[in-house]
Symmetry: C2
Subunit: 225 residues, 2 copies
């Protein structure tokens, strides 16, 4: 099977799935059904077997344990590979982590899902393994990513108001932005354009809807914030 005398460590994948819930950034967690850390909350993750890419394993595991289909995510990115020998009490496991961004995700429950639920990043329960560290790392990466790319699109509906856009930035960055400066700056980047539709949703002036010019990830000409 393997070359002479070589035995590899276990390979696992873990996913950090973010979405916006109202004005806060949330992350998908599952509740472990087995030891170790039985009953504790954790990132959806599992084994990566030979013949399967890490992304395939991530897709399979995310569906099975978290009830989320990878194709419903707007952006997926490999984050980091965690491999402290001691991180899994069962033995040496190397975990390749991915970050996924989506919107209005609703875990579809089935016989293998493990109580998937979105938690605000500011109110996380106690977490299994080193998953708290992984989420922190993912959040920092996301904060950086939205300042030099248009990655925010993956957290928003196709058509959105400037207020929604600003709220998304504020949710990820965890601080407030000045409305006039935000709009001026963002519009000057020429990433979005107005549709001529209006969003009438309350007892106030309707808001214009915008959409991104290009569907994919782009690097900004001037970084943001």
């Amino acid at each position: 099977m393997y070359p002479d005398g070589y035995t590899p460590p276990i390979l696992t994948v873990d996913s950090v799935i973010f979405q916006l819930d109202g004005t806060v950034l949330s992350v998908l967690l599952i509740q472990r059904s087995k030891e170790p850390f039985k009953g504790a909350w954790a990132l959806p993750g599992g084994y990566n077997a030979i013949g399967e890419t890490t992304k395939e394993a991530m897709t399979r595991v995310l569906k099975a344990k978290g009830g989320i289909a990878t194709k419903d995510l707007g952006l997926i990115e490999q984050l980091y590979t965690f491999d402290t020998v001691a991180r899994d009490p069962r033995g040496h496991a190397v975990s390749v982590t991915y970050m996924g961004l989506g919107k209005n995700l609703e875990p579809k429950l089935n016989s293998t899902t493990q109580n998937p639920r979105f938690f605000p990043v500011t109110e996380l329960p106690d977490l299994a393994y080193d998953h708290g560290e992984i989420i922190k790392y993912a959040h920092e990466r996301l904060q950086a990513k939205i300042t030099y790319t248009n990655a925010i699109f993956a957290l928003l509906p196709k058509k959105f108001t400037l207020s929604q856009l600003q709220t998304a930035y504020e949710a990820v960055l965890c601080h407030e932005l000045d409305k006039r400066n935000f709009r001026k700056k963002f519009l000057s980047l020429e990433l979005i354009e107005t549709t001529n539709e209006l969003n009438k949703d309350g007892a106030h002036r309707p808001a214009r809807l915008y959409c991104f010019r290009n569907p994919g990830l782009e690097t900004l000409v001037r970084s943001f914030d």
Copy 2:
């Protein structure tokens, strides 16, 4: 050994070691002594066995095949994990890659080194596997890294002139910078301070030597370039 019916892929590590040779950025390659790709140039890399962290494996392999001690590197960073199932013709291998930065590295040859040599990044030979892609990725990461951190320190001697510093930036970024603007900007970041020593090295005015205030990696207050 493993949980029920689970067999992991092979785990390998590969290192992209950069240093400056005069005014160009160079990368360490070895010449493969076995199939596949026998005789071709490649990044120093090898198996990562159970019980060994990826960083430990990287250290061991870099010494064995490349003749370079990890402790001689000024900065080491995990880059990305490459795992296209087809990337290694022998079968499914997942490679965790690291980037290392050093200065005046001289491979120490021994019975296991495989003809290690530094090649300018602009003049690479044909490379085994997907190592050309990996080097390109590492180079881009390094370019980004020196614009928002003081990572350049790892490519320079402890004391250096502003011209050496500028040359290092130019070598990594592959484009020229304006001398006056470079100096004004870099000094305003307050990362370096003057020693009162001079570098007398030729038939011209001696240059002041500077050093970094802090020994470790720092994020810049304003990003560079």
